[in-house]
Symmetry: C2
Subunit: 201 residues, 2 copies
């Protein structure tokens, strides 16, 4: 007698995401997700082949809310800026997922949707062939790196500025001090502006 599935993929992903949001990525385990759903550990394997697949589900759950539709007609650099800022806003709601985003980016439908739109904008801006490849990868590199610098901050201990002072790196210490006065939003936007300016030749 077939029993009905007690849990949907979406509910599984939501449970895993709840674990990550509460206990961090380190807290994610098959056992923790099962407990979150009130199931035994092995019941989870009814819905997912292994941990890797569970992680992929979490990434899709997060990117499900990412709007990848092309922005309204306006200068192409501004369109790209909007798309990149959308990623940051979406991912920023679940910082623990950032490392998963990096490792699962290749197979993620959400990343593909977003990339397709970005490539379309680049094409409209006259980018083709090698130039377009490099532009896309350059943008991706910045986004992935910046998100990690922002969310995988120092887990504990003194900041870079303090360390640099002690270790005798005066200029870096000074820059570290000044960094405290820069809001994360401005830092991300500022770095992005640099990339977009460089893209515009």
């Amino acid at each position: 007698m077939p029993r009905p599935r007690s849990v949907s993929p979406a509910r599984l992903a939501a449970a895993a995401l709840a674990v990550i949001d509460r206990d961090g990525l380190a807290g994610l385990s098959m056992r923790a997700v099962a407990a979150e759903l009130g199931l035994t550990t092995m019941a989870v394997y009814r819905y997912v082949a292994d941990r890797d697949e569970l992680e992929a589900l979490v990434v899709e759950e997060v990117l499900r809310t990412l709007d990848s539709t092309p922005p309204a007609a306006q200068p192409w650099a501004e369109q790209l800026r909007i798309l990149v800022e959308r990623v940051r806003a979406t991912v920023g709601r679940h910082p623990g997922v950032v490392p998963l985003l990096v490792s699962h980016r290749h197979r993620s439908a959400g990343v593909l949707r977003w990339s397709e739109t970005v490539v379309g904008i680049l094409h409209g801006a006259g980018f083709d062939g090698t130039r377009r490849v490099i532009a896309l990868r350059g943008l991706l590199s910045y986004v992935i790196g910046a998100l990690q610098l922002e969310h995988l901050g120092p887990l504990a201990g003194p900041g870079t500025a303090t360390i640099a002072t002690l270790a005798g790196f005066p200029r870096l210490a000074e820059t570290g001090q000044e960094a405290g006065a820069v809001a994360p939003d401005d830092e991300f936007a500022g770095g992005l502006a640099i990339v977009l300016r460089g893209l515009a030749r």
Copy 2:
């Protein structure tokens, strides 16, 4: 009767690096490093407080060979390019270490040395205050992101191009095809050139 230490921190780091180079970062464990040195697992704890400290040692071992001395006098963008390319060359010899570089960057003496030189070049180029903070973080973001895109490639399965074709992302599929013709060196250098151009206003 005190016994002499049988292993130096450098030898410990070298053993851990050998494990990573051979079996990947997933193969790194206290037990594997102990076996590499012909010791029991717990002997490793004589030299390192925990796994985190072992990882930090590996990062320093890799960055020990990173030349962070300022390049000869020449346009500042070219000096920055040289420093960034040095990082890529050094890290490229041990791709498995890339994730450790990301998580340990704050406490790494090697990263601090490199950053101090970069900040010095930025200062000489007239960057100060918020602009310099954003320039340093922007460069770091690109480097970290690009190294990960390069080395944490798809672990298995078809590439992005194939997936995109199947999933109905025509422009992305086309770009994926073209990406095959771009050498990793050119891709990294091209992205870096974009960032440096953007930095130069």
